[in-house]
Amino acid sequence: MNQLDFPILTLITFLPTLGVIFIMLMNKEETSTIRWTAFITTFINFLFSLPLFFYFNAGSAEMQFVEKASWIKEYGISYFVGIDGISLLLILLATFFAPICVVACWKDIKDKVKEFMICLLLLETGMIGVFVSLDLFLFYVFWEVMLIPMYLLIGVWGAPARRIYAAIKFFLFTMFGSLLMLVAILVLYFINHSVTGEYTFNLLKLYELSIPLNIQTWLFLAFFLAFAIKVPMFPFHTWLPDAHTEAPTVGSVLLAAVLLKTGTYGFLRFSMPLFPVASHDFIPLISILAIIGIIYGALVSMVQKDLKRLVAFSSVSHLGFVMLGLFALNIQGVQGGLIQMINHGLSTGALFLIVGMIYERRHTRMIADFGGLSRVMPVFATFFMIVTLSSIGLPGLNGFVGEFLILLGTFKSNVVYAVFAATGVIFAAVYMLWMFQRVMFGEITREENRNLKDLSVREIGVLVPILIFIFWIGLYPKTFLGKTEASVQHFLNEFNKKYETSIQKKDNVHAVNKSEELIVKK
């Protein structure tokens, strides 16, 4: 179904690539033209993505704005894109953050601006592509395409000391998971062929396939590895602090706000609907890993001396919540997980921007180098406070909605998990507020901090849009939850239906086996 009769998803996906071509043709000395081109491209792309929200039919769970064209016919590969309530908000998150990032690095990136903007725009194409693809081959292509620009962003513009190490680690970790996923995709493809006689990578058709249980477990594990590394779940998270710490500010922002979500999105879109029985079997393992992630991330955050590393570890903790919510497998949990993906994007994205702002002024990120900044930079302090509280999950701000729904969902499915997870909320308050206190309050301990400039208009302009959504989701989440509800409900119904039919089959087989045994015994 495509209610606009217009290839809008293709437009949004490839408009940034078009911008790349323009920028390539420009002289690299003309940095301001390049910056403006990048900004205009991403901003127009954001405007183009708004109709998705307004024309989206919230009552329907089927794929919308669908486009389909045969790509590699012999192998049943098609260019098949479309969105539902699950991907809608994530696409908007990506198009929303792209112009913000271009503006945020206006002063920050002085070197190799042309190449930087090219990477940024290619990254946007990759990210949106991942969220719109409904063909497994297409999805895999975008999934990998996303890697290269991010790798270059970290490796070329990152902090000098360890950027190369971080970039390669990021690349190899992600690649490891995705290559195994590729094998699993192929196995799935051939299983589908042997059952239906049709070669296809069409996700919606593969949903209907019921896969033998033992194979399902293996396939699930391969997909799990790819997505768990990307999320990242404990214990696959070790690339994240390095990548975040070394990446340039906007690299961290996009990494935290959007890239990590491709992992959680992957669970929701691929792993769970394709392999319901295996997903169900792995709920305890994944929930426990998620809880370990929540508590471990929080505890490690507490002892960080580096602001960026602290925010990075807090991501591990927050994404643990998302995973827990998704695997609660009830409407509150999944809805909460989905909205928490957006929330984490907004608040962690904003936190990285804020850390970037003081780093630009002081060229250090060590908590010990700061103190008493609130007196020097009152506007900054206000923004920082709001974002910190949003990250903690203060009622009235966005973080609360997500965490509350997730905990509610988890409570319904397993009380013990919920109790442990809830401690994470407390720890979050501890490490965030303690950090805030050390950086912003108290006496000014260092002379260099006495004359810091408060935020410029540009910097305020970067943060205000994010803050608007932090309040909006906090106060009236229905605008966004309403869009996702039908799709989530549909997802759960399908999941349960498929799970039950598979289980019944299994029981039947058992029953047959048992009766045969009895006959043999007689």
């Binding site: 190449e115 895999y140 690349f171 190899l172 690649m175 290559l179």
Partner: protein, 484 residues
């Protein structure tokens, strides 16, 4: 005694004849060209390649035996012909300026490339073990000379000598294999062997199995499969870079063409016997090639080990032993031709006389000094690493899907893990180019029109096949009727 005069079907030898005539013409013309200005010889060779390509197109879709069943001109042979012609054409384009720079511009160079290509064509079209052997020798002798073409360079001499000695050794293996095969089956005709083997009673003949083993060794040497790969890094390093490019694509493709034809067609009934061996060799070849490549600091040596690894991936397609696998070998070879030749082209362009810039560290900081060249190199590296949307990715995708289709899931997993290892050393080049500070002065590149054309063809090929693989895939599928 009746003397049967075989039907002489000249038309089916069109490409080979055109190239041979062009080569002889090049030899003749270059005598009259002034010293050091042999460019017309190169352009003449390109013309020959073009016409050979056109005549291959005319032969397409009409398989026929010729010369008393000595050759079989089918789509399989023609598909490989086009790969050889692409390799020869691009290598010649890359050589024009390179030879002038090295003060080694001689017409014989181009003539030898053409003769080698003719040899390759006979290997891919040979439907008799003798034809294949003759093709192999024609190719190899030309390449021995080409590898040592920079006669004042010690490394080039070492390369030629090494290749000659080991090559002669492997030819002997192959020939012995052919002899045993003849002894066991009474024929050297591929179809005859295949028919003979359709009787299951003969399959356990030790002479047959020994013959098969020796053939495997002979081909294994030419495709640089482990454990017959030892010559590769030294020969590749010492040979003139454009010849290294030509060898890594052309020779490998020709050897695979014959290998596939003999094993997947003639010896198909022995498939259960050779499959295990190939499985092991494929795994060893991929793994050793990739792991050792990590440790290389010379970019030509690195690409030499990478070419070993790629031979391993292609062998996975053979192990799969299904239609998909066979067509994916053809497709992969085509993709590999563009990306590998492109990478060597960049290396040639980046070096100069007396300062070859072959150490990987020489690429430090090059990315922002020569953005176009670095971008090209990145595309080729990402393609060799198998990252979409490039030809290398689609190639690997098909190879591994063929393996999975036949149930070799572990082989596919080993394959993708190898590709992960390879990502590390291919990325290293991009790390150097974009993320390291320059360690040396850059004195400018000497772009020449011919090199620019070669690189543009290579990059367009790499991306086009990566983004719209459908037509090429279709051609590859049409080329394997013999094996169905």
């Amino acid at each position: 005694m009746d003397l049967v005069i075989p039907n002489i079907d000249v038309a089916s030898l069109g490409p080979e004849l055109i190239l041979s005539i062009a080569a002889m013409f090049v030899l003749l013309v270059s005598v009259f060209l002034p010293k050091g200005r042999k460019d017309p010889a190169a352009y003449l060779s390109l013309l020959g390649i073009f016409f050979a390509f056109v005549s291959s197109i005319f032969l397409w879709g009409n398989p026929r035996y010729a010369f008393n069943n000595m050759i079989l001109v089918d789509n399989f042979a023609l598909f490989f012909n086009s790969i050889f012609l692409i390799a020869a054409g691009l290598s010649i384009l890359m050589s024009v300026n390179y030879l002038k720079e090295e003060e080694m511009s001689h017409g014989e160079f181009y003539a030898l490339i053409l003769f080698a290509t003719v040899g390759m064509m006979f290997m891919s079209a040979g439907s008799n073990l003798i034809t294949i052997f003759l093709g192999l020798e024609t190719m190899s002798i030309s390449i021995y000379v080409l590898a040592g073409f920079f006669r004042r360079s010690n490394k080039s001499n070492e390369s030629a000598l090494k290749y000659l000695l080991l090559g002669a050794f492997s030819s002997a293996f192959l020939l012995y294999g052919i002899a045993l095969m003849y002894g066991a089956t009474g024929t050297t005709d591929l179809k005859g062997i295949s028919e003979y083997l359709s009787n299951a009673a003969y399959l356990k003949d030790p002479m047959l199995l020994a013959g098969m083993g020796l053939l495997l060794v002979g081909f294994g040497f030419k495709i640089a499969s482990v454990p017959f790969h030892m010559w590769t890094p030294d020969v590749y390093e010492g040979a003139p870079t454009s010849i290294t490019a030509f060898m890594s694509v052309g020779v490998k493709a020709a050897a695979f063409a014959a290998f596939v034809r003999v094993f997947l067609y003639s010896l198909w009934d022995l498939q259960p016997d050779w499959n295990y061996v190939l499985w092991i060799l494929a795994v060893l070849t991929m793994t050793l090639g990739n792991i050792v490549a990590i440790a290389q600091n010379n970019i030509k040596r690195m690409l030499a080990y990478s070419s070993i690894a790629h031979a391993g991936y292609i062998m996975v397609g053979m192990v799969a032993s299904n239609e998909l696998g066979t067509s994916s070998i053809l497709f992969y070879m085509l993709a590999y031709a563009f990306m590998n030749l492109g990478a060597f082209g960049v290396i040639i362009l980046y070096g100069r006389k007396g300062e070859e810039n072959l150490d990987i560290n020489d690429y430090s900081g090059m990315g922002f000094k020569y953005p176009a060249l670095a971008l090209l190199m990145s595309v080729f590296m990402f393609s060799l690493a198998g990252i979409p949307p490039t030809a290398g990715f689609v190639g690997k995708f098909y190879i591994f899907s063929a393996a999975i289709k036949s149930g070799y899931i572990w082989l596919a997993i080993i394959g993708v893990m190898n590709s992960l290892i390879s990502v590390y050393y291919y990325l290293r080049i991009t790390v150097m180019m974009y993320m390291k500070e320059p360690v040396k002065e850059f004195v400018g590149l000497k772009w020449s029109p011919s090199m620019a054309i070669a690189l543009i063809i290579a990059v367009i090929g790499t991306l086009l096949i990566g983004i719209f693989p459908s037509p090429y895939l279709d051609l590859a599928r049409q080329s394997i009727q013999l094996f169905m």
